[in-house]
Amino acid sequence: MADITLLADALVRSTPLILAGLAVALAFRGGVFNLGAEGQLMMGAAASAAISIKLAPLMGPSVIVVSLGGGAVAGALWAGIAAELKRRFHVLEIISTIMLNFIAIHLVSFLVRGPMQEPTRIYPQTESLADSARLPIIIPGTRLHAGLILAVLLAVCLHWIFKHTAAGFRVRALGAGPNAARSAGQIDIAVLSWRVFVMSGAIAGLAGAIEVSGVTFALYENISPGYGYTAIAVALIAGLNPLGVIASGVFFGVLETAALALQRDFGIPSSIASMVEALLILVTLALAGLRGYLAFLAPRERTA
């Protein structure tokens, strides 16, 4: 019993990591350094909570579709701000997205104390979602919700798009070399990178919407422990491959859940998980760097 709930908890935790990881992987593939998955996720969570609370009494079970869609749109809009700044004023998205993260976090903090606060006006959170606005549980007795299925489907879709469609090829070309993509591929890189940016935001927003509809059932200010930042590691370790993101998302979910279990059962500090995560990222980057260095050395030896 304990085992299945533990595994379910790990997968529950993996779900936002996979989704936000996909958002980051898509952006990085297209050469857009969207570090704002965290903020886009928060905005998605806020929009989804607002829609679920307002519309659940009117719509019945179909509200879930609208609420997840609304979350994706909110994430897209939030990323859209940075995308517009980049397109019009060439503002570096590395800076603008990180700044927008802080704004989103404080905005949610304001919302749960102001316009969206629960009716008794005591606690900084929204009221709980109606049952009809909650994602169905896929293993009874656990918390594992249908969001995981959505995340996996989305990963498979993205993988297929990258592999088998012209649009996917254009995104890869854009990321691999924007100048070549423009001159040789006749790609309007400004428009394409804007689209990649906004799509990436939509996926991150969906991650937030699923977290609200599947796990927390209300909007809180600390709803994310930094999913949007861990997602960068998830995407990098997966080599920006959407199917790889499923594996690395599950890996991080298991790692963090296991770390909590170790603290509960043996008193081992759970912060060890963060150290392991950081080490992994360093190793991955070092490996990638080493590979690049070797490739750089090899031809020189031949010409010399």
Binding site: D9, Y123, V254, L287
Partner: protein, 338 residues
Amino acid sequence: MKLFALVICPIAVTLGACSSKPDTTDSASKHTFKVALLTPGPISDKSWNGGAYQGLMAIHDTLGAEVSHIQTKTPAEFDENFRQYGAKGFNLVFGHGFEFQDAAVRVARAYPNTVYVTTSGTSVGKNLAGVDFSFEEASYIAGLVAGRMTKSNVIGLIGGTELPPVKSSFEAFEKGAQTVNPKVKFLVSYIGNWDDASAGKEQAIAQISRGADVIMQNADAAGLGVFQAIKETKGVWIIGSNSNQNTIFPSQTLGSIVINLPRAFLLIAREVQKGNFIGHVFSLGLPEGVVEYTANPTVTSNIPVSVAATADSIQRQMSAGTFKGNVLPDSARKQPAR
């Protein structure tokens, strides 16, 4: 491929480690009383979380319980850990803060043999209780002392976030200070979180530069930053909260508003162990000996005897139930504690 192996190996190891555990714990401890604690922050804060951990240890030492503690960050983790402790057959699980309430309500239904207590809040059930710490009386007394001790007539109040119990505690503090010193002005600021010590220090420095010479803080780990700012400024007093913080920097600490969390935790754990637990809101304050203002003995010689005597006598009246005054301004209504 190497990368793949790198990812899969730890998964296998961690899963293996988790799944082999329950057999050993379950069989060995069928009959021991098991108590767990979820804190929202680090137990090294010498305050809200540290006090709760002392409570857990008191249950371990006094009642011989098997105990477990975990620090949690997000609502999703509250749920996860409540469930895991329920699944492991724990008898009593504390969620240390109002924020644990919703998760406790959900999980309590799924694990009817485990008692869930949120130190806060109002939700109750067959195996679900809340705790209401009344901070106001003790804050009022701290205010009486601060109002007499300020020379600049500016008192700073620094909170973590603007939670209702923090707000009402500040209001009671202000009422107390105004009772003895009508000229006093207050600077109130909230750090925005409970763990950023350097932000706490900044707020304190800002208040000191605006003339505050007594600062009352209720900001857990972030409050330790307030102590740092005080250490660097002569002639400014500080008042601690939640735990007895008089020893952090004794020479400039007037006293602390102390919740005796161990006493509160023991009181509840005893009821659960004896089997006469009833799901209700435990209201614990000065009369129950759970919250009180504790003056700092190190600085007794610097505090006028009349100030200490007033604080003492009002505190005694409150705990005897004979105090007639109102500790909150008329505009503020009583709200449940964090």
